[in-house]
Amino acid sequence: MSFKVMIVDDSRVVHAEMKKLLADTEFEVVATCRSGENALSTYEECHPDVVTMDIVMPGMDGFAAARTIMEKHPEARVLIVSSLAYDDTIDEAVKIGAKGFVFKPINQEQLMGALMGALNSDK
């Protein structure tokens, strides 16, 4: 059984890196978005099991995009993936209902753990 992942990050380097880390796992990257605005419409199209969301992006930032997705889709599971990882941003992630926080640079163990944690967060 595979789980659908949507990656939201303005860097296609991150898209490529995460696809590489998730290859041959139970997580399939079904969509990549380069902006928060694009993430809103793409979520409606593909309804992923988990969304990974960067914070720093041009235009709508990741927190705003995550908040909007979760307001419209309370079942959405969003993981924040960012280098901007300190108390304030982690607190904000918790406040908006994100299911976890992955620190950049990303490693596979951390990413897989966070994705599994997000899937199991409903239980």
């Binding site: 860097s11 296609r12 380097v13 720093v56 992006m57 280098s83 901007l84 300190y86 304030d88 640079p105």
Partner: protein, 161 residues
């Protein structure tokens, strides 16, 4: 999120912090080992530039200067393959800078409890005069690697908001 700087950070502390983060992140992402050098490459007009502004409890500018050769090596080491074009150079340079900025902000927070965000990095093939605003002097930290590739990190004074 407008907390004041609980602890004032002196210029040496900030310099040491940025030096430490830069060498660590460059090694972590690209397996390149940097050491300090007195050579200031900002006097050249060839280096590429990635820059951003930090804002929150404090404001400042953060700028990365490097020649194309160094950025190419950085990008190829990060990706594990030759670059396919200038777009790749820009993308990898920006992602490297993104990780660098995030870790600098995190370490400043750990020392001062003052947080900040940074704006999406901008990549340019040359540094415009507006970025190096002479009315707000910048401190530069110059690095060199084992292949004589150079990297410079410039930053402004952390001004509490």
């Amino acid at each position: 999120m407008n907390k004041h700087l609980d602890i004032e950070l002196d210029s040496q502390t900030i310099s040491d912090l940025i030096y430490s983060v830069t060498t660590r992140v460059t090694h972590q992402l690209a397996q390149i080992d940097l050491r300090p050098t007195p050579i200031d490459q900002t006097l050249d007009d060839e280096p590429h530039v990635v820059y951003t502004t930090l804002s929150g409890a404090y404001q400042t500018k953060l700028i990365l200067y490097a020649h194309r050769g160094f950025l190419q090596r950085l990008a190829e080491n990060m990706s594990g393959k030759p670059l396919s074009g200038l777009d790749d150079l820009e993308e990898y340079s920006k992602e490297f800078f993104n990780v660098l900025c995030g870790q600098i902000v995190r370490e400043i927070f750990q020392l001062s409890k003052a947080g900040a965000y940074f704006h999406s990095p901008i990549f340019l093939r040359k540094c415009p005069a507006s970025v190096l605003d002479p009315s707000r002097p910048l401190t530069s930290l110059n690095f060199i690697d084992d292949q004589s590739g150079q990297l410079t990190v410039l930053y402004g004074e952390l001004r509490p908001t």
